[in-house]
Symmetry: C2
Subunit: 138 residues, 2 copies
């Protein structure tokens, strides 16, 4: 399965935005300080979240980032699939021409079950919204 700490960092960053919601954009340096990382890392991540329409950026002086939807309209599933690789399971180099029937057909055989698993993951993550997360933080 595909991983990095990006998902957790993204949720962290969005939670910071959620708590500042209504008080103007938050700059990358502020978010970076909370996450304990570098402003550029945050900007890169925000770029992906912006493509997914979860945040929008405000350029220029006193600019920054703010949520592009209400916090209860953003689920953990939205965040996960915005930021992590699209296919959760990484395949080994396939070889459809192999004489070995296992090597030749395994990819096709596994496709259904793996998609189902991704789907289950999505469904479970979709049950928690950013509002749930941010209201749980005092």
């Amino acid at each position: 399965m595909l991983s990095s700490s990006r998902f957790i960092v993204a949720v962290h960053a969005l939670s910071v935005l959620a708590r500042f919601s209504g008080r103007g954009p938050v700059c990358s340096a502020t978010v970076a300080e909370s996450v304990h990382t570098n402003p550029v890392v945050i900007r890169r991540l925000m770029g992906e979240l912006e493509k997914a329409r979860l945040v929008r950026s405000v350029a220029g002086r006193s600019g920054g980032f703010e949520l592009d939807r209400q916090a209860d309209q953003i689920t953990l599933a939205d965040v996960y699939f915005a930021v992590e690789d699209e296919n959760v399971f990484r395949m080994h180099k396939a070889d459809p021409n192999s004489r070995c029937p296992v090597a030749a057909q395994l990819g096709k055989v596994l496709h259904g079950p793996l998609r189902a698993a991704e789907c289950a993951l999505h469904t479970s993550l979709a049950k928690t919204t950013l509002r749930d997360v941010s209201t749980a933080i005092v």
Copy 2:
């Protein structure tokens, strides 16, 4: 999320064993040829599968590996959690002492939903057995 191609390779290797089931152990070189990798890689992987009681090894001449259970008693979930990291979601460096409440509490708040998601993944993968996979291969 945690990933490598190890899960797919493990399923591949186990499928090979399942097809040889009853005809004695299969050596790592044979499995490696099917998977298109190195025998040592297979032996390392088999070590993890052995800890999870999915395979057993036979030492000495004409040794190798064989399934330690019937193929319908091994699910994709067994394989996944035997071979991949135990925690599916990788945390960023936490900081419970941070002045920022998000940084201080996010880990705890996320714990429940993430466990639920792992659980959903497990349940979905558990629906497919190694027998399902190996009988789908002609």
